[in-house]
Symmetry: C2
Subunit: 211 residues, 2 copies
DNA sequence: ATGATTGGATAGTGCCACTCTCCGAACGGG
DNA sequence: CCCGTTCGGAGAGTGGCACTATCCAATCAT
């Protein structure tokens, strides 16, 4: 198909697709002549995934390029590709450094992981994200001790189990990786909005009966 | 205290504090002379909360102003203030409109809430956020039927129950509202990073034994 | 008295996701 | 074969946003 059709079927404007091509989010189409290129269903899927990452997942364009590159890199094994792709996703700023709050947060984070029976993964950026968020809570004076966090951890474990099982159902390796990335990013707003809805439900149940 | 001390104790640069004052994130200090103003501990708390919302919660400055204004608006009752504050938080784009995916997403969202026993809250922006995210998943061809979503909903309910109970422990109404906003926003990265850590744990457990 | 500091206002910076505009080559109906 | 249309590509420009650099006059400390 041509650029115009790709644009129509994906709902992404032609100029934006050109921009994505320039930024490497999308591989170039198969050149059929000096000024014409042909795109296939694979391009359409990639474009939709890229669009979802950028718009829904708020992943910066440069980051999305790395993620998609890792998904397609067939030179390494599945688990490494998955790790590379997920590590490239945004994680917020790393903890500032020498700070009492950061030290306390780091200790809490490690204790939580130990209590949940998770093996520590030193290089995981999600760990830095957790420490940074906990340090902020501590600085604001809000409680975030281990007992507070365990319910979150158990909820996360339940969800993750579900997700990994779901991903296993996708056959081809690249399809699995695409699914892993898509589900990791796109279920974030689902989880957060369900949490807010649950909060609203619980708040009205406790604080008031009307409206 | 003076601006300089407020800056030092909060870790926010003087120019940024001035910017926040201009944007209404922080009430002006008490004018002690034509060119001097005095700030108190309340300003420090507000500043730290605003900073956390903007930096960690990625809340736009204009949005943070509305949220903080709702928290301090003592002219209405607690639950309304809470609703206003949380509604002002960012929710991503609303669903596009006339689209088969959006319709299916809306039906799924309502069914999930029904199955979880949550009363439908029509005006809640979190609902739009959920529908929008589900529509994106549907467009990408990933499963997000009711059975997939129920574990997320149950996890969200468990977490929300914990949080509302925690908020009730804060005495003063304004303090409670501040806590509600802070916990809603600042626990988001905590929850998401725990989910990613849980995914990593589960993935290594199933897909490989080393690294 | 006087140099430093303070609070306030205005304009500018840097980043980022697009988007506008132009170009020359190719397609295709007549 | 002709010519208006469409195509892909490339560089510069736009708008939004979170700051930030600079300046100014009043005031404080010595």
């Amino acid at each position: 198909m041509r650029l115009a059709e790709l644009s129509e079927r994906s709902g992404v404007s032609i100029t934006t697709i050109k921009y994505y091509l320039r930024e490497g989010l999308l591989p170039p189409g198969e050149r059929v002549s000096a000024t014409q290129a042909e795109y296939d269903e694979e391009h359409l899927r990639r474009l939709r995934l890229a669009r979802a990452l950028v718009q829904v997942g708020r992943v910066p364009v440069a980051t999305a390029r790395k993620v998609l590159a890792a998904v397609e890199d067939e030179s390494v094994d599945q688990l490494t590709r998955l790790g590379t792709a997920v590590s490239a996703l945004p994680h917020g700023p790393a903890p500032s450094g020498a700070d009492g709050a950061v030290d306390a947060a780091r200790r809490t984070a490690e204790e939580v992981q130990r209590r949940l029976g998770w093996r520590p993964v030193p290089g995981n950026p999600a760990h830095g994200m957790l420490v940074s968020a906990l340090a902020t809570l501590i600085r604001l004076g809000y409680p975030c001790d281990v007992d507070q966090l365990l319910p979150y951890g158990r909820a996360a474990a339940a969800i993750a189990g579900h997700e990994i099982a779901l991903i296993e159902e996708f056959g081809a390796p690249t399809t699995q990786l695409e699914a892993a990335v898509a589900l990791t990013v796109l279920y974030e707003p689902v989880l957060l909005s369900l949490r807010r809805l649950a909060q609203a439900e619980e708040a009205t149940r406790r604080f008031g009966t009307q409206t």
